[in-house]
Symmetry: D2
Subunit: 343 residues, 4 copies
Amino acid sequence: MSQVDSGSPVGVALIGSGRMGAYHGETLAQRLPGARLVAVADPAPGTAEKLAAGWGAPAAYTDPAQAFGDPAVEAVVIAAPARFHTDLIVAAAQAGKSVFCEKPAALSLGDLDRAIDAVRAAAVVLQVGFNRRFAPDWAAARALLDRGVLGTPRLLRSVTRDPGGFDPSWVPADTIFNETLIHDFDTLRFLNPGAEAVEVYATADALVEPAWKDRGLLDTAVVTVKFDNGATGIAEACFQAAYGYDVRGEVFGSGGMATMGDGRATGMVFSGATGRAIDTARSDQELLAGAYVAELAAFVEAVRTGGPAPVGGEDARAALAIAKAAARSVRENRPVTIAEVAR
Amino acid sequence: MSQVDSGSPVGVALIGSGRMGAYHGETLAQRLPGARLVAVADPAPGTAEKLAAGWGAPAAYTDPAQAFGDPAVEAVVIAAPARFHTDLIVAAAQAGKSVFCEKPAALSLGDLDRAIDAVRAAAVVLQVGFNRRFAPDWAAARALLDRGVLGTPRLLRSVTRDPGGFDPSWVPADTIFNETLIHDFDTLRFLNPGAEAVEVYATADALVEPAWKDRGLLDTAVVTVKFDNGATGIAEACFQAAYGYDVRGEVFGSGGMATMGDGRATGMVFSGATGRAIDTARSDQELLAGAYVAELAAFVEAVRTGGPAPVGGEDARAALAIAKAAARSVRENRPVTIAEVAR
Amino acid sequence: MSQVDSGSPVGVALIGSGRMGAYHGETLAQRLPGARLVAVADPAPGTAEKLAAGWGAPAAYTDPAQAFGDPAVEAVVIAAPARFHTDLIVAAAQAGKSVFCEKPAALSLGDLDRAIDAVRAAAVVLQVGFNRRFAPDWAAARALLDRGVLGTPRLLRSVTRDPGGFDPSWVPADTIFNETLIHDFDTLRFLNPGAEAVEVYATADALVEPAWKDRGLLDTAVVTVKFDNGATGIAEACFQAAYGYDVRGEVFGSGGMATMGDGRATGMVFSGATGRAIDTARSDQELLAGAYVAELAAFVEAVRTGGPAPVGGEDARAALAIAKAAARSVRENRPVTIAEVAR
Amino acid sequence: MSQVDSGSPVGVALIGSGRMGAYHGETLAQRLPGARLVAVADPAPGTAEKLAAGWGAPAAYTDPAQAFGDPAVEAVVIAAPARFHTDLIVAAAQAGKSVFCEKPAALSLGDLDRAIDAVRAAAVVLQVGFNRRFAPDWAAARALLDRGVLGTPRLLRSVTRDPGGFDPSWVPADTIFNETLIHDFDTLRFLNPGAEAVEVYATADALVEPAWKDRGLLDTAVVTVKFDNGATGIAEACFQAAYGYDVRGEVFGSGGMATMGDGRATGMVFSGATGRAIDTARSDQELLAGAYVAELAAFVEAVRTGGPAPVGGEDARAALAIAKAAARSVRENRPVTIAEVAR
């Protein structure tokens, strides 16, 4: 990895500027003094130029290869659709760029191994967008674990519910496992440090959009994950919650329990004619704003110091293996071991 | 069922005066103007006499048959060990007494059918001690369901964690399913009205007392229950929580979510040098005091009016079937249908 | 005081059956095995008879004197309008009946002294309806004080907000001090045990019904109470809160702080399309149900044992003196000492 | 005000680098891409140099005049002791620099007028460090007010409790009013938009350090503020809370109530052997981190756009007038009008 001068901001290119990408671009341009957004790449004509101009980024590209060839770019943030992730990681690494990639880093374990190999060969940093590790509640729970306060984990829970409004025709099969629950699989691992998943059982159904069940779209799922230290984790997801974005967690150990995710936007409580209402976050970007910034700050710091990323390729692989086992469990209606899918 | 004069309290005998029985006895004697505790039966020499004297109950017996033969007794509350429940229900019913029986009403589906048949033949009331239905949070959630506010349930959760301190040598195999999680199985049904369980998958381990695993004692379990309306329920239990008794629930439907069980003893919050602490209940009798009284009030009312009990033999059977499927699922490490166990 | 047989319920007559009286009557008839409602007195034709019949009380009177002459009556619960309280207490005491009187026990300190003297001469029990002392949050805070956990009180707060709907033409002047804030004055004393008020400053206005200000109706008030241990208490009240009945408190001492009154009806939280809502109590009878029963239980117990009431005539006098000083403070726009009003 | 190029960061000098100053310096250097820390001034030998080096600021001065003369400095953040504020504001303004000044902007109304005049003459931006306006809960409550949801304010409350550890010999008389409660006075005004204080009554005592009372040190105070729209606000403060920093607020209007300040560091809740504990903030910098950054971001934006500061000299004057009236009220033990002190 090229030596980075600790005094100047890290030059970062944004690859892909959809909803999440745009947020990352804004963070790199306006919220992270340690980073400098030096390029935006997006295939849609005019998009990169417009965004780059608004953010004061000097370069705009329609082809990510241009960003990989730009000497001002030390690192890239990949927020393109998931099916392109592997090839982008490989190309970036081969160009000597460190990589922050949105989850999932790949859609198959084979692809992921290819990406990990490229990163290793280039000795660049790879961080995966498991943002929940950086959300304050979760970081606080992990701190309690690390201090031994919670003892040995016995039961864990991680929940993701989206606010809905998705277009069923755009959602690939297994998305609930590969793209949504993968956050929860990583969270379960994060909250059970040192343990690894051994067996997975999952149920899933099309309860939001029953008409799409025949085409394989599953929108509601529960996954039971057995770990090698005896703990059981439960991950559950639904693509539509009437009350908005819902991200919660729980870790129960021999020393006590931590619960995470009260869904609050602020601590303000309003009492009015229709009752008393908590001031709640409606979008992931409101709920997880701090985590989205913190994960990029950690990435930039890792690039600057050459240190390892706080959540990297092996973590991505472990979470993807659980996703693969979960999908197979639903198809075969039986518990599936990690060994079966992760050879 | 014998006609009960609506003006005078219902005469009730307590059968079994252990921890839970003693609480029920106190409720019948001191908290329920509609009931009159007319007898206490306990096999331990002197126990029934001492308790009856303290509560002002006119009769004390060492043999429950004496209570069944006492004409002042219109109804009995059975709080003896679970293995005696079936025979006691049958005997009480045959004597024309209405029965409130602590859960589980039986340890096998065959026994339970025998009890249900006896109750039906005698046309007495049978209520089972699924107290959580009477806890304010749960009743409020059910009211939201009944009003349609929560829509169709998609994901449900019910948790029971005991404060520990149990003697492993006294705990029969499958207790976590038959005696602890049976509350949660009933709760999942209560929160998914009209739906029935079709398939069950369970994991369980001995994490509190690992040395007892070989003898079949499982102290920590997670059970996934698939319902015929597509909803999935999760029931989890552990015999030891460092923070005391923990009973919680959640129902997530197309219209929103209700969460139940904040564990508070009161709404008082103390802020001191070691932080801010919620005033929490430490025992089930503190946490569920209202529910314990309310379930007996409902029973006494059912006896008085001859109406059906709010939770009866068929509910007991449905919950026990899930328990049986869960225990088999652990032994065979596969999902087990209700049809397999509940023929 | 006549000796009461500890085995049989205390015979109680209800004097006055308005909103609060009806609740107390129901409690005596149906919620308190230790009490027996033996008579109902109400001047409205037919009212006492109808209520007595419904509650199974043997006697109904239109004149309270009849209840005072009834030998089955050991104690009375006075819930008539405040202006009749003193004479009723005196008459009941002279007839040898113990008295539970709704607050305020009198509208002037002279009247109150007359009532206290009559009670003392007759050696009967007098309890005043300061129910907040019996509400779980407040009792828990007081327990922390008694255990020394909160240290010496420095700042205290007590809030009462009614849900509105009052008829301004029915509300006597100074009602906000004499009938509403009198609860808060007692609460401040309850949370600052051993200390006494020395000076009072109050502001008040007609913000709910500005048109009635000229006629002396004040509907919103803040009262600052200085105590002889240096602590300052704040009592505030408003006759109309858009969100229903609101009763809260706070005591901040050298050891920490306790806050009371989260307004919850249950611990259930509903998350729906319009946000996340706490399940809140809308009426005092929902919010304070437990306290209303507990205060009568304590009274009945005091009558039974001949022991002193937990909150009696001297407490009523201390709270009323604060109310008088507050009313004068508003009129004269200056701090008023307790010594000025309580000679 | 000099035209600022919207594309480049605003050059800011830090004047005074004590506890709060150091935090502001860090924010300017590391948390605000829109600002550039170009100088640090502190009279203690070596301090400015060391801090400037650590933050990468190009200049370090021992005399603030040097910073005022530095052409790279467009704006200054004044965090020197309160008694120097006025002269520093005047000097900065005269040098054409915009000013962010920690509260209080002055210790007398005369001084404050002098500062306001200098700022006006120089046409620079002046913002005062009333950070609570920028804290999320308070901003959310104000948004409800601005949308009309809360109706017309009737009762308001603002609380500040410090964690203690102060050195009594360093605290000037009236500090609790001029430097602590001044936050609360501004908050009451912020939550009662358009209304102004007309009369103030205050009580105060030395309850934390009774031995210092003779020397005029008051450490615990309650201030009642009457507003011209009929609302009453209560501000209370104490220099020592056993549980750490405590900042809360409440606004109750005709449409409902908003409460602010749950003291949480995160939403994580830990349940352990000693109870259930909220994860609470211990320092102001933890509790108000977001507000400290947001107020400087707003200042930098005002400098950049030449727009008015969100909270300026007139707000500082209104809050200081309440502080002056409160101090006089304590000395004279009577309500004091704003007109008396603010001529």
